[in-house]
């Protein structure tokens, strides 16, 4: 989409009209999910009112640290991304994919109907749009389409929000995924002091927008919205040099840095759980004691688990270092071979939520041989 063209299509609606949007979507049968404060963080949960949004709050993030702080204004979206991502709705942590019951006449096999709940995601950031696009390729791009993901994804209404700030962990500009939302949304908002600059990105988005009370965008609003988006660019300090990154990583499989980071990494799976693109799962049969009722369950799994590479001959990746290397080389390297893009969107969640603060951008810099790389996890 041409950015200049987009700007001219934008309209304005006052803050109060955001509640109208939520109410309208609820009336259309959507489960509206948006950012809200819970457990000392901004998470994604079902909302029905703008009062549930984190009005006047922001997040301070660094490696292994996340803190909520008060803003000096009443911004509704004045933060970046938290521990949750939209994948928990599109690719749920636990799904029953089949079941079987033993009856008098033999085994009866059943495939549950996919959950067709209509979700409206409010507050999807540019990096998250990129992550959804990546998971679209993973789950629906090839010959084997995942019915669970597809059912939820095809019903989803996406309201993106342009970031007006960056955390110290953000590096979307390095990954070319943000901070401006450019595609993959039904509506995109830029928050201003008294309202939102709104852009529609789909026919369904335009139809919803048409049912709201909007005003034409003034030049002043347009300038302020552009300045807000530019502020996110200007605040971004973290960088990942992606030049030749696939060959760099896959060409350095014996680099001593893998052992260094492997000694610090806990193998706890947090990075993969919070990653909006990580898609590993395991499928297992769960039965009752009589072995007469069996469910086949799919649950999130992680390449950091020892059992994940366990096969008949034993465990393929039998050290944490080998599992960290598997994750990073796949995420930033062989993902390209598999899906045609990087697996990283630069959201920085894996940095913030690593309990010991391992920063993948530092790991790549160390392997690249950049001057004075820091030790893994910020150890002195």
């Amino acid at each position: 989409m041409n950015p200049e063209t987009t700007e001219t299509e934008c309209v304005f609606f006052p803050k109060i009209e955001l509640q109208s949007l939520i109410t309208l979507l609820v009336g259309d049968g959507y489960h509206v999910v948006g950012p809200t404060i819970d457990q000392a963080a901004i998470v994604y949960d079902k909302i029905t009112s703008v009062d549930q949004l984190p009005r006047g709050w922001t997040d301070q993030q660094e490696a292994a640290k996340y803190r909520l702080e008060r803003r000096d204004d009443d911004a509704l979206f004045g933060f970046v991304v938290g521990p949750h991502s939209w994948k928990k709705y599109l690719f749920p942590p636990l799904t029953t994919v089949a079941s079987a019951q033993k009856t008098e006449s033999g085994w009866q096999m059943q495939t549950p109907e996919p959950d067709t709940t209509k979700y409206a995601f409010l507050g999807v950031r540019a990096c998250e749009l990129a992550a959804i696009a990546i998971q679209d390729r993973v789950f629906t791009g090839g010959p084997y389409v995942d019915p669970v993901y597809k059912a939820r994804r095809s019903n989803a209404f996406i309201i993106a929000v342009n970031c007006a700030q960056s955390a110290s962990t953000c590096f979307c500009t390095s990954m070319n995924t943000g901070p401006k939302c450019s595609s993959g949304f039904d509506l995109a908002l830029t928050e201003l002091e008294d309202g939102f600059e709104v852009e529609s990105g789909s026919d369904i988005g335009a139809a919803v927008l048409g049912r709201l009370t909007t005003q034409s965008l003034t030049a002043e609003h347009s300038t302020m919205a552009a300045a807000a988006r530019q502020q996110a660019v200007d605040q971004q300090t973290k960088q990942l040099n992606t030049e030749g990154i696939r060959d760099l990583l896959l060409g350095n499989l014996d680099h001593p840095r893998w052992k260094d980071v492997g000694d610090i990494c806990l193998g706890c799976t947090n990075c993969t759980m919070v990653c909006p693109t990580c898609f590993c799962s395991s499928v297992e049969e769960v039965s009752d004691l009589a072995n007469e009722n069996v469910e086949r369950q799919r649950h999130w799994d992680s390449c950091f688990n020892l059992s994940y590479s366990s096969m008949s001959h034993g465990t393929t990746r039998n050290t944490i270092a080998s599992r960290y290397r598997q994750w990073l080389t796949h995420k930033l390297g062989s993902w390209e071979n598999q899906f045609g893009t990087s697996g990283c969107v630069g959201c920085g969640r894996c940095i913030t939520w690593c309990p010991v603060g391992i920063d993948l951008t530092e790991e790549v810099a160390a392997i690249r041989g950049d001057a004075a790389p820091k030790p893994p996890g910020g150890a002195a």
Partner: protein, 276 residues
Amino acid sequence: MTTKQPTPTTATKPKLAVFKFASCDGCQLSLLDAEDELLAVAGIVDIAYFLEATSRIKDGPYDITLVEGSITTPHDEQRIQEVRRKSKYLITIGACATAGGIQALRNWADIEDFTQAVYASPQYISTLATSTAIADHVAVDFELRGCPINQFQLIEVLKSLLAGRKPRTKTHSVCMDCKQRGNVCITVATGEPCLGPITQSGCGAICPTYNRGCYGCFGPATQTHAQSLTDHLVREGAAPAQLVQLLRNFNSAAAPFLEQSNRIQDAMNQEGDNRV
């Protein structure tokens, strides 16, 4: 005419025994608490020795023996040998049996001090200076972690033995359970120390779900780096004495927790630091 599958008779059902050593009985109770499943368990195994459930006792040998508790007395040192001899599969249940339990805190103290302080006539007390895991004394076929154990994991182990397959109990960290429940990491979001990243799954992340740090009931996760976590927590301002207390709970004698609590305590002793 179809032939009806014969119901297993007592003679053909595997014999189950439950033996208790130094413990609080909570893990045995998990089996009794299984309620719905308990009747099914009783249907597929012959409960031959389970004093907490029934005074009806059958002699060994036993096909499946569950052992709760740690070894803390000279008498129990002998008794566990006898239990092993009578058992085809010996499965330890709970933190006491797999790591020595909370009573392994005696391993850092003088047992004489305790018996003098607690008992009016300590000369009648026959005890060992240490509390040790069952596997320190006899070969163990499978260890079921937890304080207490998870009843669903216990039933999974029984099911797997009866089906002749390996038990599918999870070995990943507590963090994975937290994330799948949607819990926010309390260490990252509030700074409170939590052992979740280095602790094996099993409880379903109960404590973090109720906004407190994990204190390692299910023991160390597989192949973890406990020192990396404790070093990080100290760098972030945790008091070393607090970490020693955190590591010295129900699994204080499990190797990675033991090594770290000793390492931190030694460093504190060298610096003359005893702050909590």
